[in-house]
């Protein structure tokens, strides 16, 4: 480079730099204007959009589960309440590798592999994203402390306080009140996801299930501010949940316990109800089980033990146990025969110890091989004479028999509010044609007359049929809920009362039942001895295994589990019915010998005061009843 040019350059350089600085300055101003325009676009033009975005970021709507309604017995004794309980929750989305977190929980709390499998199942059942799923309930203080110490290893794990259903009376009401349990996937798909958004439990059986809608209540909401990790920082707005309605049961916990005691550890069922109101006073199915473990999730083994037990504690014998009613329905058959006009109160049948259809050689035997001789209606009931009822059934025919027994509730669901009640079976020609593609045989009608054959009834149905005897045909569905939040349960589909041609027909049946207990030849006269009130009852035997023609029932040869079930139904006081009791003792063999004393004990518990005298409130209105009986 030649020197002179360089010296001359100085001014030119300065001009060049000034020019370029000016260009740069202008470009920077333009670019700054672009930045401001961008900010204007975001902050002014799109302000609404971004405000909403930011608000949605921080504000979450959380459901607040309602408190489940309480359940009381008729005297106000609490049967189901809600207890605060600490549970361990896991939020899958925050736990990272949640299976590994479960491993840590199991390790920290020293639990078993079985527990871990249960946890995993529970987490899998988790529902909406970011919802904490309870994995372990009723944490002890020590467990809470262990979790707290190891919190750093347990992302997404929290100890949460919540109200959990508790049944203070344990197994006494497991079959009537039922229990709640965790909502499973099938239930989830049928549920209103909004109403149950904060709820983990739902009624599974019994009252808890039947009145789920009333007990559940309405979900509330909380608008909460959360940070980016979903932690709740404060509550902005709250709509309180509406607690579920309280239910007062018709059941009486003292009578319930008395009925259980009366069964004395035997397997069986007891139903006690008030015939005038349909209120069920006691409902026992033994053995029973403690419903509390089902609330928080019962372990595999504990559940398998219950499920596989030969005594079938989970089986509700009152509602689902099906037994041939045996002789217990003879009073109803008698009333039906009178109303149908096939017999009169004076009709007499000679019993040689068996009955034969004309032109048939088959002998339908009376339970008393020797025969009872000439038998009228009253004796037929009190002696439970089979021959009389073979004859009566033959005269009535299967069609009329089916119609009358159906009106007594057999083969029907009779209850108003009991979950999973079985209808049982009252056979008919149509039923047999559909079921077996066979015609009806006359001999099948005969054994219907003594409550055997195809007939299948539940202890509750027998109680209701007996209650209809007690009320002279007034139909009120048996129910467990006395009031719901103070309002009585309403039957939206009432059953029409049974109207007989002559209401007096009821009294012949009832008198026969009274003679069963109080007559000189009554089958259950033992329980009538010294009773301060009069009982109208009927015994029955439900065969477990059929006995062949000409073979004798020999209890020694029959395994205990194959022995007949003992049945007894009754109401008392006979002239002013206050209570109906239906008892089934599994493999009890003798209705009058085994089941009847249970009935008596239950009745005593309800009717007698501490001095062994009939309570004043149950005393019969003397005049009217006496007149009726003398007619």
């Amino acid at each position: 480079m030649p020197q002179p040019i360089r010296l001359k350059d100085h001014e030119k350089d300065a001009r060049m730099v000034r020019k370029r600085a000016l260009v740069g300055g202008i470009v920077f101003l333009l670019l700054t204007a672009v930045l401001i325009a961008r900010m204007y676009y975001l902050q002014v033009v799109q302000f609404e959009y971004h405000s909403t975005l930011a608000e949605n970021n921080r504000i979450h709507v959380q459901p607040v589960p309602p408190t489940r309604g309480l359940i009381f017995d008729r005297n106000g004794v609490i049967v189901a309440d809600n207890r605060p309980s600490f549970s361990l929750t896991l939020t899958r989305e925050r736990a990272g590798d949640w299976r590994q977190v479960l491993d840590v929980i199991v390790e920290v709390l020293g639990l078993s592999e079985e527990d871990r499998a249960l946890f995993e199942r529970r987490v899998r059942q988790g529902r909406r994203p970011f919802e904490p799923v309870p994995v372990l309930f009723e944490l002890s203080e020590e467990q809470i402390a262990r979790i707290a110490i190891n919190q750093f290893r347990l992302p997404g794990v929290e100890v949460a306080a919540q109200l959990v259903r508790h049944y203070p009376l344990g197994d006494h009401f497991a079959h009537s009140v039922g229990y709640v349990g965790r909502i499973n996937e099938k239930e989830l798909s049928d549920l209103d996801p909004v109403a149950y958004s904060g709820t983990h439990h739902i009624g599974k059986t019994g009252i808890e299930r039947f009145y789920e809608a009333q007990l559940h209540g309405e979900v509330g909401y909380e608008e909460v501010e959360t940070n980016a990790r979903g932690r709740v920082l404060r509550v902005l707005k709250r709509t309180d949940p509406l607690p579920g309605r309280d239910i007062v049961l018709t059941l009486d916990s003292r009578l319930q316990e008395a009925a259980e005691a009366a069964l004395g550890g035997r397997r069986g069922a007891v139903v006690a109800l008030q015939p005038q109101t349909g209120e069920v006073l006691a409902m026992v199915s033994q053995p029973s089980f403690d419903p509390n473990p089902f609330v928080t999730g019962i372990g595999f083994k504990a559940y398998a033990d219950l499920r596989d037990s030969i005594d079938r504690p989970l089986f509700n014998r009152v509602l689902r146990g099906l037994y041939p009613p045996g002789s217990t329905i003879k009073p109803m058959v008698a009333v039906a025969g009178l109303d149908a006009g096939v017999i009169t109160p004076q009709t007499r049948v000679f019993d040689p110890g068996f009955y034969q259809l004309p032109n048939h050689s088959h002998k339908y035997r009376n339970w008393n091989r020797n025969g009872d001789g000439w038998v009228d209606l009253e004796l037929a009931i009190s002696r439970s004479n089979d021959t009389y009822f073979y004859d009566l059934a033959h005269k009535m025919g299967v069609d009329r028999m089916h119609d009358y027994m159906t009106r007594f509730g057999l083969g029907q669901r009779v209850s108003l509010d009991m979950f999973e009640e079985t209808a049982g079976l009252m056979p008919s020609r149509d039923w047999k044609r559909a079921r077996y593609r066979q015609p009806w045989y006359p001999g099948e009608t005969l054994i219907l007359g003594i409550g055997q054959g195809y007939m299948q009834t539940t202890p509750l149905q027998l109680a209701q049929a007996t209650a209809l005897m007690a009320t002279r045909g007034k139909w009120i569905r048996p129910h467990l809920a006395k009031t719901i939040e103070g309002l009585p349960a309403v039957d939206s589909d009432p059953v029409p009362d049974i109207q007989l041609r002559d209401p007096k027909f009821w009294d012949y049946g009832r008198f026969g039942m009274e003679q069963v207990v109080h007559g000189p030849r009554g089958t259950a006269r033992k329980i009538g001895d010294g009773s301060p009130y009069r009982i109208a009852g009927k015994s029955g035997t439900a065969q477990v295994v059929a006995i062949k023609q000409g073979e004798k029932y020999d209890r020694e040869k029959i395994q205990e589990r194959h022995r007949d079930h003992a049945l007894f139904v009754a109401f008392a006081p006979a002239d002013n019915p206050q209570i109906v009791v239906s008892v089934m003792v599994e493999n009890g063999e003798s209705g009058s010998g085994v089941a009847a004393p249970v009935v008596k004990q239950v009745m005593d518990a309800w009717l007698l005061d501490e001095n062994g005298q009939l309570k004043a409130e149950f005393a019969p209105p003397v005049k009217a009843e006496v007149v009726q009986r003398e007619q």
Partner: protein, 381 residues
């Protein structure tokens, strides 16, 4: 050569020197005032952005103090003295970059640090932000303007070497800033427009080439996210969506100091470092952003005045390049946070938390002060 232009300037200069004490200790009053305002604003915003973290505030304040001292020390050196050491610094800097690439200290998947435990821990690429424009200015100041093709080629080679080394670390943000600093020197030196337009036209094939051969996976992801942040709102698009929501929800006047929900509830990532402008925009609105931009523009305007008034060509080129690079900081940071540009790791100058960038920036302004306060008009003639 004595002419009107020189005389005017010298008389003005003499006048000022006599009037100002600051001039004598080589401090530019306007720059210092603006820097102090920015430093105060930084602490103010950081207090909110860091969630009232006093420790962090103290660290930032001491870095700022340290930087100011460094700035004042640098201002005492004559630009000529600096120019003498520039070649050595350049060689040393490139050497350190090589060392870092070969055996540097790992942080966040990128190798950027030289760490001698207990002695020193620093990023050589950070120094390159100043050494680079100084080296190119030193080289071009000896030549006549506008630079000739040969000189442009040499300058480009000097720019490309550290640029590639930093890119390999990989640190896209810093490498682009270093590239910009070098290129600005060429621009101010009067690089012909045909070269500038030609380079602009070459950007597309270069970008395509970089995409396939240079960019790392996480860098590609950032570019993809920039193009469509909503494609992965919970993953890589999260940052940009949340920062836009923070800015947008601030509105014109903002939600108020300490009341920004996006930053205080942790929805905004990196809220006290690269994304701090979103905190400012959320809490102080458009007005706050405009005020900050005004401060930056005043700083840049002063830098350009210093550029024009600089006595030597080296001083002019260096001052201009430093000032323009400063604008790149501002533009790239605000552009990326507001979703105009892809996310590259460039802090918001003076406001973002971080000692290294603060010290580098203040060192640059120290050089500007030195250039402005060491003018000697008598010797020029």
């Amino acid at each position: 050569m004595s002419n009107n232009f020189d005389r005017n300037l010298s008389s003005e200069d003499v006048l000022r020197r006599r009037a100002s004490l600051l001039q004598r200790v080589h401090i530019d009053g306007i720059l210092l005032l603006l820097l102090l305002i920015l430093g105060a604003a930084s602490l103010f915003i950081l207090y909110s952005a860091s969630g009232k973290n006093i420790d962090l505030l103290m660290k930032q304040a001491s870095s700022f103090g340290l930087g100011l001292i460094g700035m004042l020390v640098i201002a005492q050196f004559e630009p000529r003295f600096m120019a003498r050491w520039v070649p050595l610094a350049y060689v040393g800097g490139v050497g350190l970059l090589v060392v870092v690439d070969v055996m540097g200290h790992n942080a966040m998947g990128a190798t950027r640090w030289i760490n001698i435990p207990g002695v020193i821990r620093f990023q050589p690429s950070e120094f390159m932000k100043i050494i680079m424009p100084a080296s190119i200015a030193w080289y071009l100041a000896k030549r006549s303007l506008p630079p000739r093709f040969k000189h442009i080629c040499v300058a480009m080679a000097m720019i490309a070497t550290p640029f590639v080394l930093i890119l390999l670390q990989p640190d896209l943000g810093t490498s682009l800033l270093v590239l910009a600093a070098g290129c600005f020197v060429l621009f101010i030196a009067g690089l012909q427009w045909r070269w500038i337009l030609g380079a602009a036209a070459a950007v597309v094939p270069i970008a395509v080439g970089m995409w396939f051969f240079v960019l790392r996976e996480y860098q590609k992801q950032r570019v993809l996210t920039f193009l469509n942040p909503e494609s992965d709102p919970l993953g890589s698009g999260w940052n940009i969506i949340q920062s836009k929501a923070a800015i947008g929800s601030g509105g014109v006047l903002g939600k108020g100091w300490l009341l920004g929900t996006q930053s205080h509830l942790d929805f905004l990532p990196e809220s006290h470092t690269d994304f701090i402008i979103a905190v400012l925009a959320e809490e102080f609105g458009l007005v706050g952003v405009c005020l900050l931009l005004l401060l930056y523009m005043l700083l840049i305007a002063r830098g350009l005045v210093i550029t024009v008034q600089a006595q030597t060509l080296f001083g002019k080129l260096l001052a201009g390049a430093l000032t323009m690079t400063f604008f790149v900081y501002v533009f790239v940071n605000i552009g990326m946070v507001s979703g105009l540009l892809p996310v590259v790791g460039v802090p918001l100058p003076f406001i973002s938390y971080g000692g290294t960038s603060l010290i580098t920036l203040l060192a640059g302004f120290g050089i500007l002060m030195s250039i402005h306060t060491h003018r000697k008009w008598i010797t020029q003639a």
